[in-house]
């Protein structure tokens, strides 16, 4: 509140504020009443006044109009030919934190610093001010530069001693994490999101706790002060915006999900990829601050090097500059920033480019002025040239949206900052010189500076017969001096020539070696009109879902009815294998199965089953595709992290897996810690937004892990635990804590007096997840290898009264099959991986069969993007090793994993009433010589051989046309390289992969 008050005071007192300081020499009191006349005034977006007068008085705009009376005390400045705009707002300017802020009341996590006010650190240097002033920025929205909860942004004037217009604009958040080399939680995107969520709960709790403590100090223990939580609570109460920084459209969706969950005022730092999920992103109408930083031109000259670029990188190069227009078209408010631009002047070239491509100039002006002013609470003070507004003006020698025109001066709070000379002394061009009764030609041209060096003028002096290069040259304001060899022109030796420029006339003297003087004059020769500029054009490319390759440009086929006619049906259900059988599917559900079903002609999509085999869609109980982040290994228990937060349906692995008949996958957290994160069971609905992948009926689950990975045996680490003994204690300890948490909660909830006077128990997402396990509402999927650790976990589960849903990998499960069966757990195993680390030396490929024959529900899993494309063949190995029947073998990848994930009510077998998730094979599904021809999910055709071929041809054509376009475009503007879309690791397994792999380019 005090901060707000101060900023208000500053605003009211205006220039007087400076007088708080003692005067060091004499008082300086300039007049500060100005009349700016004859300018072309763009007073607000969409409006302008020709030859208007603006009266400024003591930092404010007093009046504006075409025929207004100039006050007698005003000094007049003639702006003939100039354009005047309201001062622009740079909407995103990151400021380095300089002060050390280790205080006792800070949050336990160093990345949470909501109390921090960036204003405290904003001391702009001349270089920064110069670069922003040159673009017309008089104000900036400054933001803190590091942390997850980074602190509060502010709106300031861009002056040497900045004045704050709003000291706390918004809370700024970033998905920041340290990666595996980090020292502090979170290591991963998973953890960063979980920490955000928990912190919002904590802030709410902290507010309540404070209140209880203040009201009933005698009843409560004092709680530890936490400035971050206090500040968050305050921002929320005040309905302050929460700004999330995003890197691509997935981050936008993730941010919006949290903003929505906690009902916050949504702001985003945009990323340029929003067009890819425009519908989903614009739904909540977030305010987007959009850097005008666009992708660099891909280097495709060498066709081999062009292969380094993924198609959507090429496509993004074409589409990125249309993003703002597309956002605008949906009614989203966008503000601009130079954030990310290495060379700030490119801002205006990029701006011109997006205007060329269809953004209306009025919209562009609004994004620089009124929109940010209004969003940041200064709609009555900034962004327009209007009486009562702050006297912030941009004076341009032409139209601002033409990058050739120059910002010549800025007015900030009624004080002028000169940026560039009002008129340029332009020597460039051809001059007709009369000298010594002869006529010569002088030709000045501009030499482009290489490697950041400034431009240079060079010149040639010529008569009809000779021409000589100018040797030395010097320019100061309107004066030019140069030297050249005078001999060919009849002078003595090297001559020096001086001249003075007055618009289109040059005059001066020539001095030759003998000391003789000659007068000379020159007039500018008329030049040909420059060629009209080639305008940038908007992209004409259709969007694909997802971008990159094999995306859908139209919705996938979903016939109302499908008839599978005369096929061999592997039901994986009680009916076994049915020969020459029919299936009727309606609205995505299996309606009927019978030897002969007839439908009216043309009423159903017919699949001719002759020679074809139909199986249920395959299910992988252990998979890491479509996950942008896999392991949160910073702590040994991270039950609070959720795979559903980081789903990335654009992962090409999904399409490749569909091509192998996979329809459902259990996307698990990695195995870096004993209690990992919450899983996400998905259907492989290719092209859909992340949330639409989720198998909504599937019960929630969580990943546990035991053995070498969690005790960090195969890499450096000193986190507890380092032994299997410690692993047991960590898990036991977690459950004991959860039980105690529950008791406290129940106690509080049933006692009205406690509720009235006591600080409520803190809502803890980690404990909530653990409790759900104990209550049987969350399935445990435990990565495990050795029999000892499997027995250990069974014992703990028995003791705490819950059942492990599956042991994952469970490579020594064959040694204690009866224990697993008696406990009631499922076993989801690799088929034949072994000997890569010590704990898998006793792994045998007969594991699946031996467990199955002893009554364990067994599935085989992939844990790899590659194996997941041929799960049918993994199942076949159970026939080879241990002689399982074909029918039972197929169940290892159909009904068994469905039962393990408790989704067998809907999928896993072909039975009436179940989801129409099925695969059409061109032969027996367990043979190496068989191929998947079609894959259907919910009666929708997500993959077929023909479809893939057609998409491939389409994408290859797109690729070559994009490369053609790039080759035909010359671009001087630099930019960043866009992130390839889901170019991930090659099949990994054993889940010990790290994050960030997504950001690798093509694998070596």
């Amino acid at each position: 509140m005090i901060q707000v008050l101060i900023s208000l005071l500053i605003l009211i007192s205006g220039f007087l504020f400076a007088q708080i300081e003692p005067v060091s020499d004499l008082h300086s009191n300039p007049s500060r009443v100005w009349a700016l006349t004859n300018g072309m005034v763009h007073n607000e977006p969409g409006r302008f006044l020709k030859k208007a007068t603006i009266i400024l008085r003591d930092g404010k705009i007093m009046s504006l109009g075409r025929y207004i009376k100039i006050p007698e005390d005003a000094y007049e400045i003639d702006l003939e030919g100039a354009h005047v705009y309201a001062g622009f707002i740079e909407s995103w300017l990151e400021v380095k934190k300089t002060q050390k802020d280790k205080v006792a009341q800070e949050h336990w996590n160093g990345k949470i610093r909501s109390e921090y006010q960036v204003l405290d650190d904003f001391k702009p240097d001349d270089t920064l001010l110069k670069s922003l002033h040159a673009l017309g920025f008089t104000n900036a929205h400054i933001v803190p530069e590091s942390g997850i909860f980074r602190g509060q942004s502010a709106l300031v004037s861009l002056e040497k001693s900045p004045v704050s217009f709003n000291a706390s604009v918004s809370q700024v958040l970033n998905f920041e994490y340290s990666g595996w080399s980090g020292k502090e939680y979170p290591y991963s995107l998973l953890g960063a999101i979980a920490l955000m969520r928990q912190t919002f709960y904590d802030a709410k709790w902290y507010e309540e706790a404070q209140e209880k403590w203040n009201t009933y100090p005698e009843e409560n223990e004092p709680i530890k002060a936490n400035l971050s939580l206090a500040s968050l609570a305050k921002s929320r109460q005040a309905k302050k915006p929460f700004t999330f920084m995003t890197r691509d459209e997935h981050y936008s969706l993730r941010a919006l999900k949290i903003l929505n969950e906690f009902n916050l005022n949504p702001w985003l730092l945009g990323n340029g990829f929003e067009y890819r999920r425009l519908k989903e992103i614009t739904e909540m109408k977030p305010f987007i601050i959009h850097p005008l930083d666009f992708p660099a031109q891909p280097k495709v000259l060498d066709p081999n090097r062009a292969l380094q670029y993924s198609t959507e990188q090429l496509k993004h190069w074409d589409l990125a500059k249309d993003n703002i227009t597309r956002l605008n078209e949906t009614g989203i408010h966008v503000a601009f920033s130079t954030h990310g631009l290495k060379k700030k002047p490119e801002f205006r070239q990029n701006l011109q480019s997006i205007i060329d491509r269809g953004l209306h100039e009025d919209k562009a002006l609004a994004s620089l002025t009124t929109i940010p002013a209004e969003k940041m609470g200064l709609e009555n003070s900034l962004g327009k040239i209007s009486p009562g507004f702050t006297a912030n003006l941009v004076i341009v020698d032409g139209e601002y949206f033409d990058p050739k025109s120059r910002v010549v001066s800025l007015w900030i709070r009624g004080n002028e900052h000169k940026i560039a000379p009002r008129y340029l002394h332009n020597f460039k061009g051809k001059w007709s010189v009369s000298l010594n009764d002869s006529t010569f030609t002088l030709d000045f041209s501009i030499l482009k500076g290489k490697g950041g060096k400034p431009e240079k003028l060079k010149g040639i002096f010529s008569s009809k017969a000779h021409s000589e290069k100018l040797i030395q040259m010097d320019i100061f304001e309107s004066n030019i001096s140069f030297s050249l060899n005078g001999v060919p022109f009849g002078f003595d030796g090297i001559v020096t020539i001086k001249g003075d420029l007055k618009k289109d006339q040059l005059s001066g003297i020539l001095l030759d070696a003998s000391g003789k003087n000659f007068d000379w004059q020159a007039s500018r020769k008329k030049e040909k009109a420059p060629k009209p500029r080639k305008k940038d054009k908007a992209s004409v490319l259709a969007l694909a879902y997802p971008e990159g390759a094999y995306g859908f440009t139209t919705d996938p086929e979903k016939p109302n009815a499908i008839l599978i006619d005369d096929a061999t049906i592997w039901t994986s259900g009680p009916d076994g294998i049915l020969e020459e059988y029919d299936i009727l599917i309606e609205n995505g559900i299996i309606k009927k199965m019978a030897p002969d079903i007839r439908v009216p002609k043309g009423s159903a999509w017919i699949i001719n089953g002759l020679g074809k085999h139909i199986t249920p869609g395959l299910i992988d109980a252990h998979n890491h595709s479509a996950a942008a982040s896999i392991n949160e290994g910073a702590q040994s228990v991270t039950a609070e992290v959720r795979m559903s937060d980081v789903l990335d349906g654009d992962d090409i692995a999904l399409f490749r897996e569909l091509a192998g008949g996979l329809t459902t996958a259990n996307i698990l957290h990695g195995s870096a810690n004993p209690i990992g994160g919450q899983n996400a069971v998905i259907k492989l609905r290719w092209g859909k937004a992340p949330d639409e992948l989720i198998f909504s009926d599937a019960p929630q689950g969580i990943k546990f892990a035991l053995g070498e990975n969690v005790k960090q045996a195969n890499w450096e680490g000193s986190r507890y635990p380092q032994t299997r003994m410690g692993v047991e204690q960590v898990i036991r300890d977690a459950f004991l804590a959860a039980v105690a948490y529950k008791e406290r909660q129940v106690n509080y909830e049933k006692n009205a007096r406690l509720q009235r006077v006591k600080i409520p128990p803190r809502y803890d997402l980690e404990m909530e997840a653990l409790l759900e396990i104990l209550e049987g509402k969350r399935l445990v999927h435990c990565h495990s290898y050795r029999q000892d650790e499997i027995m250990m976990l069974i014992e703990i589960a028995d003791e705490f009264g819950f059942t492990i849903a599956t042991f994952q990998h469970v490579l020594e499960g064959y040694k204690i099959a009866e224990k697993i069966r008696d406990h009631g757990a499922g076993a989801s195993t690799f088929t034949d991986w072994w000997a890569y680390k010590f704990e898998v030396y006793d792994a045998i490929p007969h594991n699946a069969t031996l467990m199955a024959k002893n009554g364990v529900n067994v599935s085989v899993n992939s844990d790899s993007d590659e194996l997941a494309r041929r799960m049918n063949l993994e199942a076949t190995k159970a026939i080879k090793y241990g002689n399982l029947s074909e029918e039972e073998a197929l169940k290892l990848v159909t009904i068994n994993p469905a039962q393990q994930l408790k989704i067998d009510k809907w999928v896993g077998s072909l039975e009436e009433g179940k989801d129409a998730d099925f695969v059409v094979w061109d032969g027996p599904p367990l043979s190496v010589f068989t191929q998947c021809e079609q894959t259907w999910i919910d009666g929708t055709l997500y993959y077929s051989l023909e479809m893939a071929k057609a998409m491939e041809a389409r994408d290859q054509a797109l690729r070559s046309s994009l490369i053609q376009k790039i080759l035909s475009t010359s671009s001087k503007v630099d930019g960043k390289l866009s992130v390839p879309n889901g170019e991930k690791h090659q099949g990994h397994f054993d889940c010990s992969v790290s994050d960030e792999v997504r950001f690798l380019e093509v694998n070596e």
């Binding site: 993924s310 009866e818 034949d832 010590f838 041929r870 076949t876 090793y881 190496v928 099949g987 070596e1004």
Partner: protein, 440 residues
């Protein structure tokens, strides 16, 4: 009691921890009436195969056995030449994550002199598991640095590494420099600097070639005074047969620019090179054919390198190379964590067959083609009289996962097909029998 005895008997055979190497073939053996995948010729159904003293003697429709000949009736059984792994670390590492068991990567960048076979552990548990699936020969190779060392072709049977060595050296192994130009935020090096670094790496290899040639020239002259004599250089000396073209150089190169650059390099120095890896080989097929460079193709069972490539591209690669006339064979992936699963080599070939390669060509890609590239096609890789009796018997086409190997011979020695995994299987089957829970 009787049962227990049976088990004891079984365990004494199977629990001999390491399987006992086969003894020398003492009498001729006639396999009668099998399905012979000759590879060099047609599939012969119902043919007889006679082998003696470790060599194939005759293949015919009807062979009359001599009295001392052992006759094995193999009606409907497939006979296939032993599968050959053209590159692997078999025997050089037991457990990838256990440093103590790793012997495939010497320290330093240039190790042309190190020899794989001397650190091949014939008692590795991985070996019997691998040969249980019909893989009877493996070229084992060092893999670190720029020049990794020399590989050796091992028979997967023998008391010592010397017994097991079939040929050494088979090739010199080089890892071609990465030629990607890295771009993006995190890259600090300028493009020019990156290009210079790549050039330097290749230049270093050029220098090795020159130094070896100079070294060879000096030592080939015998008339020098003793103080002018060349002092031995173990690295340079070891490279002579590879630089003068007697033996091939296997160059690991996957990305197109690597492959092209490696071919140019080999051509410039007149070397006999083979591309190992070859994920982009199909993009360079014309060049490979033109300069007669074979490819040891890895990564058939893998995902495409690039998002925009055909989703089944790695599966289709053998067919594409075959159609283009490129000489190639199929290899499993090497290194962590693949060493234990070399046994899945036939399924790489099977996937290639599923995607267009004719069945017998699929078999050839893991038998005779490998033998040709390794320079041992005169001894192994097909069923032909005069060649080693190195083959195995299976109940189905050996590319099918469901097929199982019933007998195997290496140079006529019958191989013990037991392995660590089968032993553990038997052991725990017994546990469930004791618990009365498993009928078997």
């Amino acid at each position: 009691m009787k049962r227990l005895l049976q088990i004891l008997l079984l365990t004494t055979i199977i629990f001999a921890n390491d399987q006992i190497p086969g003894s020398i073939q003492k009498h001729p053996i006639l396999l009668k009436g099998g399905i012979l995948h000759t590879i060099s010729g047609d599939v012969l159904r119902g043919y007889d195969l006679l082998f003696a003293n470790g060599k194939i003697i005759r293949i015919d429709e009807e062979i009359i056995p001599s009295p001392e000949t052992e006759v094995i009736d193999i009606y409907n059984t497939h006979v296939t030449p032993g599968f050959i792994v053209p590159v692997s670390q078999l025997g050089l590492v037991e457990i990838g994550q256990v440093k103590q068991s790793r012997d495939f990567a010497e320290i330093g960048k240039f190790n042309p002199n190190v020899r794989a076979n001397v650190s091949y552990n014939p008692d590795s548990e991985i070996i019997p598991v691998t040969r249980s699936n019909g893989i009877l020969l493996a070229n084992v190779a060092p893999s670190s640095g720029r020049i990794s060392g020399q590989s050796s072709l091992m028979m997967l049977d023998g008391w010592t590494w010397k017994d097991a060595t079939m040929l050494h050296p088979t090739a010199l192994h080089i890892n071609w420099p990465n030629m990607r130009i890295r771009t993006g935020k995190k890259v600090k090096e300028k493009e020019k600097v990156q290009k210079e670094k790549i050039q330097k790496e290749i230049q270093a290899l050029d220098d090795w070639v020159r130094n070896v040639k100079a070294y060879e020239q000096r030592i080939s002259v015998h008339l020098l005074k003793s103080d002018e004599k060349q002092i031995p250089d173990i690295r340079l000396a070891s490279m002579i047969p590879f630089i003068n073209g007697e033996k091939p150089i296997f160059i690991r190169a996957n990305e197109i620019r690597q492959i092209k650059s490696a071919i140019r390099w080999g051509n410039k120095h007149h070397l006999d090179i083979v591309i190992v890896g070859g994920r982009d080989a199909w993009r360079a097929s014309e060049l490979l054919v033109k300069f007669d460079v074979p490819v040891i193709l890895q990564n058939v069972l893998s995902t495409p390198m690039r998002r925009f490539e055909p989703i089944h591209l790695p599966y289709e690669m053998p067919k594409i190379l075959s159609d283009a006339g490129v000489q190639f064979c199929i290899a499993p992936k090497t290194g962590y964590p693949h060493n234990g699963n070399i046994r899945n080599l036939p399924y790489e070939a099977a996937m290639a067959v599923r995607h267009g390669l004719p069945k017998e060509e699929g078999l050839r890609a893991i038998t005779l083609s490998a033998a040709e590239i390794l320079g041992v096609a005169d001894k192994i890789g097909s069923l032909e009289p005069g060649k080693d009796a190195t083959f195995f018997l299976s109940n189905r086409n050996p590319l099918e996962i469901t097929s199982s190997v019933s007998k195997a011979f290496i140079q006529g020695r019958e191989i013990d097909l037991g392995d660590r995994q089968k032993s553990l299987y038997e052991k725990y089957k017994e546990k469930y029998r004791q618990l009365g829970k498993l009928e078997q």
